[in-house]
Symmetry: C2
Amino acid sequence: MEAGGVSKGPGKPGFGANQGVSVLDFVLRIVAFVCTLGSAIAMGTTNETLPFVTQFIRFRARFNDLPTFTFFVVANSVASAYLFFSLPLSIFHIIKSGSQNSRIVLVILDTLVQALVIAGASASAAIVYLAHKGNTRTNWFSICQQFNSFCERTSGSLIGSFGAAVILMLLVLLSGIALARR
Amino acid sequence: MEAGGVSKGPGKPGFGANQGVSVLDFVLRIVAFVCTLGSAIAMGTTNETLPFVTQFIRFRARFNDLPTFTFFVVANSVASAYLFFSLPLSIFHIIKSGSQNSRIVLVILDTLVQALVIAGASASAAIVYLAHKGNTRTNWFSICQQFNSFCERTSGSLIGSFGAAVILMLLVLLSGIALARR
């Protein structure tokens, strides 16, 4: 068994366990970065002006008319910045797969950022649902009849954020597995 | 090293590391169970009938007038049921602190339930904010002027849920640490 291990080289037994997980971690981190950045940009540039004006009002809907959407943009921007700056650490884990302390730091930060992304995405989903369906009991009427493109854009930007949330949950679990296998 | 381990007894080296973490895990799990159950009950029993009627309408606000609050109750009920049934496994980890597979199962389920609780709490927070402040741009008016006790009750029930979310995040991290120390 040992002879077989030597013939494969000293780094190989570690590769199967932790280095593979580290490579997957790196790839998922890039995907989550793209998702959160895309969501933040898609929501942050949402701006619809209706093609008619009255004497007093120009009908216009921007994402920051709703504070929840502002929170969504901030949460996804923070998450994408964090994911970008965590990439070097992820590369470090591919090279040095036995490191433990840096993994623990990363799993703590991943957990916090994942919570932030989930919070932003689900709060916005609640508002998007209200914008689409309205609520007759509270007299909150649907705004999607008028602001059609605004609604489509805000709904679409949730997809990337929920995708990123799932990926970040996977990253936390992967780090747990990597720590267990160390 | 092995002689030192024997002199301390076979169970002792594990106690300082993992058994302490397991006891903390058990205590936090009970607290989170109480928080989610309390939140689910507080929100689920929210029901305010105003003391005046018109010819056509009896003014009444229940939690399930808003689908987001129904989701909140379901999410917190599921979480409290899960936390209750995870207690025996947590006790098992205190007794047998070296077990790994059951810890991995628990950390995966904890991550999912934590995401569910955060999603429910933040979606409801977005709606509660809207109920308090309203939004002039979309003509969604505050309902807290009329339904004062409804608003207070729904706002209050968020506290337990956010507390449980933080505790569940800690549980995920604790499991990660326990797996790393094994």
